[in-house]
Subunit: 293 residues, 2 copies
């Protein structure tokens, strides 16, 4: 099975447990919304990085890796459902279709996020059947990356502050789940997660700059969500700070640093190639040749 199929299978298996089977008494709308929020997916970039790192480390327990990949993607989808709510971005469109609160309603969107957060931890707890110590390590990493004081909740929380610690904001809002991706990949394969922190942090920085470029210059049609939202919401954006050329240079430097930071491991070369490939996916087509490393 290729990596895409592997990740989709894992996400669907985790979702199926949360939605309950045909003989389960479960609220139908919320059950449907869990699937709506996660399927079809976006680029699944976080679980791809996680699975690539696990593979580079030997992937000694694939079932643990698959649970970790699914859990990380569920957490990401939960954050999208909540970030799109009227009280935050009030986004009508996500991944090219109506956001969860537009397709259903606001109560269902709040509950979808809550239930997906919980399902992500349930998915990891079930992996304890294969390896309890790895499962506990994965849960600890994902709680740090998603909660307070340094996870994606903290990142969103910074947007309510009048004085923003910009570095802490970016690390939490975007970086945290990328750091989780590399750390969880190593942990799922039984390796120490710490040496993998820098790779995740740098991929997160690259993602942020690429996202800033796309937000500033791409159209809603190519983004699958409204463009120009950083300006609308007065959010910091690298293009505003560095200009278009400066932002592209920053992106190239970060990606070079990311590849250089990959710890020595059996699959080092393949992983470097994967980072380059993800970087190309991330980068707007018009900037790709300038940003290539």
């Amino acid at each position: 099975m290729g990596m895409s199929d592997r990740i989709e299978t894992a996400v669907r298996a985790a979702l199926a447990r949360g939605q309950g089977g045909p003989d389960t008494a479960a609220p139908a709308q919320l059950s449907g919304a869990l699937g709506y929020a996660c399927l079809p997916g976006g680029a699944r970039i976080r679980p791809r990085i996680l699975t690539a790192v696990a593979s580079a480390c030997g992937d000694s327990k694939p079932a643990v890796t698959d649970s970790a990949a699914a859990a990380l993607e569920l957490m990401h989808c939960a954050s999208l459902a909540h970030d799109d709510l009227p009280c935050f971005d009030d986004a009508a469109v996500r991944r090219g279709k109506p956001s969860v609160h537009r397709a259903y309603d606001e109560p269902i969107a709040v509950l979808t996020g809550d239930a997906l957060i919980i399902l992500s931890f349930e998915t990891l707890a079930r992996a304890a059947a294969h390896d309890p110590m790895r499962a506990v390590g994965l849960i600890e990493i994902l709680t740090r990356a998603s909660g307070m004081p340094h996870g994606i909740c903290a990142g969103q929380g910074w947007e309510s502050e009048t004085e923003i610690d910009l570095s802490a904001y970016h690390r939490a809002k975007t970086g945290a789940l990328f750091v989780a991706a590399t750390q969880m990949g190593a942990t799922a394969a039984g390796e120490d997660p710490e040496p993998w922190t820098e790779l995740g942090a740098r991929i997160g920085e690259a993602f942020q700059v690429a996202d800033d470029l796309r937000d500033a210059f791409d159209s809603e049609a190519s983004l699958g969500k409204p463009a120009g939202q950083d300006a609308v919401h007065s959010r910091p954006n690298a293009v505003q700070e560095l200009g278009k050329t400066g932002a592209i240079e920053r992106l190239r430097d970060i990606l070079a640093g990311a590849i250089a930071s990959i710890p020595s491991c059996p699959g080092e070369a393949a992983l470097a190639q994967m980072v380059r490939w993800q970087a190309e996916r991330l980068t707007p087509a018009w900037a790709a040749s300038a940003a290539r490393v």
Copy 2:
């Protein structure tokens, strides 16, 4: 340390980790709101039941019990912050003070719930340092009790359905966290959780009927939240179904069943006394003598 102090200490320790120390770059409003949502507490009835069951089972690893009690209370407080949101109950008052979204705002209230859910699992994951297998068991129980298809998210989700499975609704909305309380208490003490399911379920049923009585007959001043909300939101209520006398009789029968269901254990008698005591706290004063068992 008495049970109240023990639970408050555990809740505060868990909160402190989520809020971050004075040297931590964390968003100040969200950090404050985590504490606001949990302190001062209500009756802490769920962690009290958990701790009482753990004690009845020997409480062989008190640090695990304390983590479990704190995690369960954080999850309960998370659910209150979200249930009070404008898109659900739109409650202005909770525990005698403004609800989280009134004291702060809606974005902070959504994030407070999210961060408390995640902090509850982080608290349990940290207990793995004392006993990884018990920690994993506790996480599994809490995910089942809080998520989909049978936990408190599912309970809230039923309120969006046109046809409600009433039994599934009550089990999920109110019962699930009481079942978690008894099961987690046993698990924290290293015992099999299954024999403790019935006690939790019956306490949950009793709590629901007592809550229905209070909602129908008590004042906002004594409840610390608006009264008559079931009628306002067209929610099922035992008083409507059985009448006042019938509901009090039902409450008495359920409590007798709860006490009868307590598994044989070293602290059986003390636990029965604790259930009686909690029942009296739950029951409106004017109904107490009729409901006593």
